[in-house]
Amino acid sequence: MHPAYSVIFLTTLIGVGQGLFLALYTGQVYSLANLLPAQDSQGFYAIGSVVSLVLLVGGLIASFFHLGHPERAWRAASKWRTSWLSREVIVLPAFMSLVALYALTHYFGLTTPLFTVADTLAVDVTLIIGLLASVLAFVLFLCTAMIYASVKFLQEWHCALTVSNYMLLGIASGFMLAAAFSAYMGIDLVAFFGTWAVIFTLMALVSRGASLIRNRRLRHKVSLKSAIGMRHSQMQQKAQGFMGGSFNTREFFHGSSPNRVKLIRYLFLLLVFPLPVLLVGVSHVMESPNLPILAFLSQYLGLIAERWYFFAEAKHPQNLYYQTVS
């Protein structure tokens, strides 16, 4: 498949945004249980969720560049019964508005407990909104990943690992950004978010590694034999029917040399997994405020390469019909 930058930025940016929100909410729940010191509502949660919102809006803007008719995008909400794309179109704005609401309630300091559960758990508005938003964050991960995993013709994607990859890579990069954000703001949560970021990065490595191994061993379901219905061991295309290009020769081929594809695979395997983990580890020892930021930047750059490779790796069965110009 041809990797479109609009979709690469959409999926990576909203992944980071969702992960960052989940990290912030995790921090709030931890401090509620007195496992972490309570943070300033305005300074930490409000600004943090605004950063998350900016990333989500950035992803949404990127997605419009993928559409031929962005002005009709509202129509995409209609077929949610059958289309995962339609479901994503509904869940993304819903999640964004809850994040915005979360930021607003924290900004205006609406943290007086509404009621107390079992005399210990003080529930305020932000906790309820955060919980709903967290659920939607996971639903959004599912929708985004299922857009790809539900296409059975792209066997490299048609697998539960696609869902776990999107989820774990998004959460890992979000926690990484939370660590970078805490380091930048000088908040004492770098170790907490950094540790979780490393844990999620390692989990993502297992999941992404498993999908790489699976796809290397993948046997494609169809060949030229069933594509044209001829049973012969010696067949080759002599002409695809036209001398120039077409949508079919552009949309479904990445057009890069095998060496470049391999290089990008090594690049993302380095930038997404070992390098950020190393940087977070070193920052913990050196207590450096810059290294977590560097770790996040490395992981995000790596995620762009990872998403590029995700598309380039998938081989569409229609390519069987477009092998020889003439």
Partner: protein
């Protein structure tokens, strides 16, 4: 229920591309049009076509065979491109089973083209919507045309009648009979898309000619050479056979 479709006889197709050009000619100015081209007379031309004729070589030299393979939307009975469409622009007509795109609803996200294993859909770069074969829906449903012309442009153009158009759910239609009696098959049946269009396979065509079919026994030019079982006179005119 009706399911209109094409049956393409690969034994007859000669790969002349008449179906390709007549399709573009009809549809670019019809309901499904336009079908714009980019840089048609320049380097790297590109454009929208609903139908392509491809050529394959089967076997090893010198015993090779050339296969001409026309390829268009197969109007699947369970079209995988329809449920993935987020806007409902892609749909399958209830009354005749033709898969169509509503260009006014299409947002140009190209997701349907990912969900088609045959590569039957082509994106129109100029109008920014997805396009595909309509089986000439504006022609086959036009009651003002005489019945013999209510057929897709490619079918009418085919000089060898390699394309049969009809209702494959009607067991007595020409298309159904051809599928049944000449070994019609579907493309990539593994996916379970149940393509309505089917293909008739290449068949070995052999003629048996005996020498007596080439030589006319009563050829008047050969009269002198004919040995007759009975004696003749000066001429053979008065011989009674």
């Amino acid at each position: 229920m009706t399911q209109l479709a094409l049956v393409i006889d690969l034994n007859v197709c000669v790969g002349c591309h008449a179906c390709v050009t007549s399709c573009k000619e009809w549809n670019t100015s019809g309901w499904a049009g336009p079908m714009p081209d980019q840089r048609p007379y320049d380097a790297d031309p590109s454009g929208v076509f609903f139908n392509r004729v491809q050529t394959y070589e089967i076997g090893e030299y010198p015993t090779t065979e050339t296969l001409h393979f026309p390829k268009s939307c197969l109007h699947c009975e369970t079209p995988p491109c329809v449920p993935v469409c987020p806007t409902g622009a892609s749909y399958k007509r209830e009354d005749n089973g033709v898969v169509l795109v509503d260009y006014d609803k299409c947002i140009g996200c190209k997701y349907c083209s990912w969900a088609c294993p045959y590569g039957a859909r082509e994106f129109d770069e100029q109008n920014r919507v997805m396009k595909k074969c309509t089986l000439c829906i504006d022609r086959i449903t036009d009651q003002t045309l005489p019945e013999s012309e209510r057929k897709p442009a490619c079918v009418l153009a085919c000089p060898t009648s390699a394309r049969i158009f009809g209702d494959v759910h009607d067991p007595e239609s020409e298309a159904s009979v051809a599928i049944r009696e000449q070994g019609g098959y579907q493309l990539m049946p593994e996916w379970g898309t149940e393509p309505a269009n089917q293909y008739l396979p290449r068949r070995r065509t052999r003629m048996h000619i005996h020498t007596d079919e080439l030589v006319r026994a009563d050829n008047p030019l050969k009269k002198e050479q004919v040995r007759l079982p009975i004696g003749t006179g000066d001429t053979i005119d008065d011989v009674a056979w």
